[in-house]
């Protein structure tokens, strides 16, 4: 015979902060049950089953834990200097909330601490394994199958524009369309795999640590981004189109609210047989114009400076031929870009970055063999995928 249901309680939400602010009400499991834009004079009353609830002050980054008791009224008040809460009939003042560590719930403390490290590491070793350890087998299998499908698909697409299909004489650029589509397919699938791989590691940590609603660190001092910018480039021979990736690291310092400056696109690239080396880095100015829950939108402008040098292979004929001299090349690549950042955990984001650029003064070399270069003056649309971390 089922136990009789307890009568519900009430959670009142009131705001006196000028301009109001968003608050999120979560149950004991951390699931959001209401997101409210709380403004002065616009009080809200929620009828809830008895239990423990947390109310987040999203604007100032604080959180209160309140208990709702049967037939009684608990109250949350959003004030200009923070938030206060009152539980039940006997008023009980809770400490004001500013930036402070999140209140641990009973479900979070019950989680084994080793999983916070172990689950993401296992997911890094085999996609989905961390989710399985976190007792989410369905999600784990889904991540594993998704990663396998994307990996196999990317491998198949990579093989579509190569081999003896492009070894015949006189193909010229006639096969550009099909080769470009193959490269687009490879770029999409490998980019998707990259994002899925990073996402499932973050998800394994989030589940193990009980993070259900991340609070992005908008007041970080330094951010690091690992990014693969990519484009579909022209090639002079066969295949006539190719996938041009450019892996790089960026380090930016937040010098004012939402505004960051730093070094972008740092990388070293080796050409075929280590005959060519390209070193690149540059300056980037970045402004974050939108912060909403898990998502940030920003824009950036900057310039990549790339220097390349090569040591040509020695001549074999004649035997006493002098060694060819080293050569150098330089390119400055101004660019503008948007970026969309999606958070699964507080300090880590998945990044999607469309960019427009054009190399000046010389060619821009990409990762991989030496035949991946964008000529000077060629306008380039790129898409970046990657991860960011904030300190």
């Amino acid at each position: 015979m089922p136990a009789p249901l307890a009568p519900p309680g009430t959670l009142e939400l009131a705001g006196t902060r000028v301009g109001g602010g968003p608050v999120v009400v979560r149950d004991a499991a951390g699931d959001a049950i209401a997101t409210i834009d709380l403004r002065p004079g616009n009080d809200v009353a929620l009828t809830l089953p008895p239990g423990v609830y947390s109310v987040e002050d999203s604007a100032q980054g604080g959180r209160l834990t309140l208990s709702v008791e049967p037939g009684k009224v608990s109250r949350f008040e959003l004030r200009p200097d923070g938030a206060r809460g009152v539980v039940g009939e006997g008023p009980r003042a809770l400490p004001p909330v500013g930036p402070q560590p999140a209140t641990a719930t009973s479900s979070a403390t019950a989680r084994p601490r080793w999983k916070r490290v172990g689950a993401p590491l296992l997911s890094a070793g085999l996609p989905g394994l961390g989710q399985m350890v976190n007792r989410q087998p369905g999600k784990g299998v889904g991540f594993l199958l998704g990663a396998l499908a994307l990996g196999v698909g990317a491998a198949v697409m990579m093989g579509t524009s190569g081999g003896t299909d492009v070894s015949s004489k006189g193909l010229g650029s006639n096969s550009f369309g099909t080769e470009a589509m193959g490269a687009v397919g490879y770029g999409l699938l490998s980019g998707g795999l990259q994002m899925l791989y990073a996402a499932q590691i973050m998800d394994a940590y989030a589940t193990a640590a009980g993070v259900s609603g991340p609070r992005p660190r908008s007041k970080h001092r330094v951010s690091l981004d690992l990014t693969r910018m990519a484009t579909i480039g022209l090639r002079p021979g066969d295949p006539a189109a190719g996938f041009f990736p450019d892996w790089s690291l960026s380090v930016l310092g937040q010098v004012a609210r939402r505004f960051s400056v730093g070094a972008g696109d740092l990388s070293i690239k080796q050409g075929r047989g280590f005959e060519r080396t390209s070193i690149q880095g540059g300056l980037r100015l970045h402004y974050r114009f939108l912060e909403r829950d898990r998502v940030w939108l920003g824009a950036a402008a900057g310039v990549i400076l790339q220097g390349s040098f090569s040591r040509p292979a020695p001549l074999r004929i004649p035997e006493d031929a002098p060694a060819p001299a080293s050569e150098g090349s330089f390119a400055a690549v101004p660019y503008a870009q948007l970026d969309l950042r999606f958070f699964i955990v507080d300090r880590w984001s998945l990044n999607l970055i469309p960019r427009v650029s054009a190399p000046l003064a010389g060619p821009r070399f990409f990762n991989g063999p030496g035949d991946r270069a964008v000529p000077s003056g060629a306008a380039t649309l790129e898409l970046g995928t990657g991860v960011g971390v904030y300190f």
Binding site: G163, S167, A373
Partner: protein
């Protein structure tokens, strides 16, 4: 993500990915050249990633080349300029000569030479190298050596011997000279020419081997493959795995290995 649905996110990603491209122009510069071979007995041809069509021609006064430099650039003039910035280099050391494509660093990845045809006296030995491109050699009677990463190989001639290695591509060789041929991924058709009696050593990792003999005298047959079929005047068998047989003095090697494919050996009709 509350504000943006996953569908919108995926659709945006797809749209942006499809739009990632380079806006450029293509250029081309035609090339024809002649190189003297009066005191030359062997030539190496290394033109980068280019198909190679080599024709032995009794009337050719030297090495007669025709082809084109293809290029890409940020504008039409830049593309033409890049195409003209690279060169072919002819080097001689005693009786050995080399023809190679030289691309400066500033043009790397933006120019590509494609050989239309190379005519040369048929008695020259030729050594061919390419990373990507089919190789066709016709009527060259000297020694022929071909080393390529990706491309099909078709050779008719090579009385002085034929040595071929390709990573990915089919082999079709008709020769009176000794043949040593290898491909990792592709089939091989090897035909003896003339009176026969020349050695054939062929190895194919993934593909079938077909060998047609002019004569089955003094054969030293060593075959390894999935299915083996031999039908000559003196040896006939259908088996699997391994087969070896000597006929007469066993001085003519026919060694074939195709671990991932079938091998057939037969006599050419009259």
């Amino acid at each position: 993500m509350r504000g943006i649905s996953s569908r919108t996110f995926a659709a945006g990603l797809s749209a942006l990915s499809l739009g990632a491209c380079v806006f450029g122009y293509r250029g081309e510069v035609l090339v024809s050249a002649s190189y003297p071979v009066a005191d030359i007995s062997a030539v190496r041809v290394d033109l980068g990633a280019s198909p190679l069509t080599i024709i032995g021609d009794e009337l050719a006064p030297g090495l007669e080349l025709s082809g084109a430099w293809h290029s890409i650039g940020g504008n039409a003039a830049g593309a033409r300029e890049l195409a003209a910035s690279s060169s072919l280099q002819w080097s001689v050391d005693g009786s050995f000569a080399e023809l190679r494509a030289v691309v400066p660093l500033a043009a790397e990845g933006q120019v590509d030479f494609e050989l239309e045809e190379l005519r040369l006296p048929p008695g020259l030995d030729v050594e061919l190298r390419t990373t990507l491109g089919d190789i066709d050699v016709i009527a060259v009677q000297g020694n022929i050596s071909a080393d390529l990463d990706v491309g099909h190989v078709h050779i008719e001639g090579g009385a002085g011997g034929v040595a071929v290695r390709t990573g990915d591509g089919n082999l079709e060789i008709v020769s009176t000279g000794n043949i040593d041929a290898t491909t990792r991924n592709g089939g091989a058709k090897i035909w003896q020419d003339g009176a026969g009696g020349n050695d054939i050593i062929v190895e194919v990792a993934r593909g079938d081997i077909e060998i047609r003999l002019r004569s089955d005298a003094n054969l030293d047959l060593v075959l390894r493959g999935a299915e083996l079929r031999v039908q000559t005047g003196t040896v006939s068998t259908v088996t699997r795995g391994e087969f070896s047989r000597q006929v007469g003095a066993g001085s003519v090697k026919v060694w074939a290995e195709a671990p991932g494919g079938n091998i057939s050996v037969s006599l050419l009709g009259p």
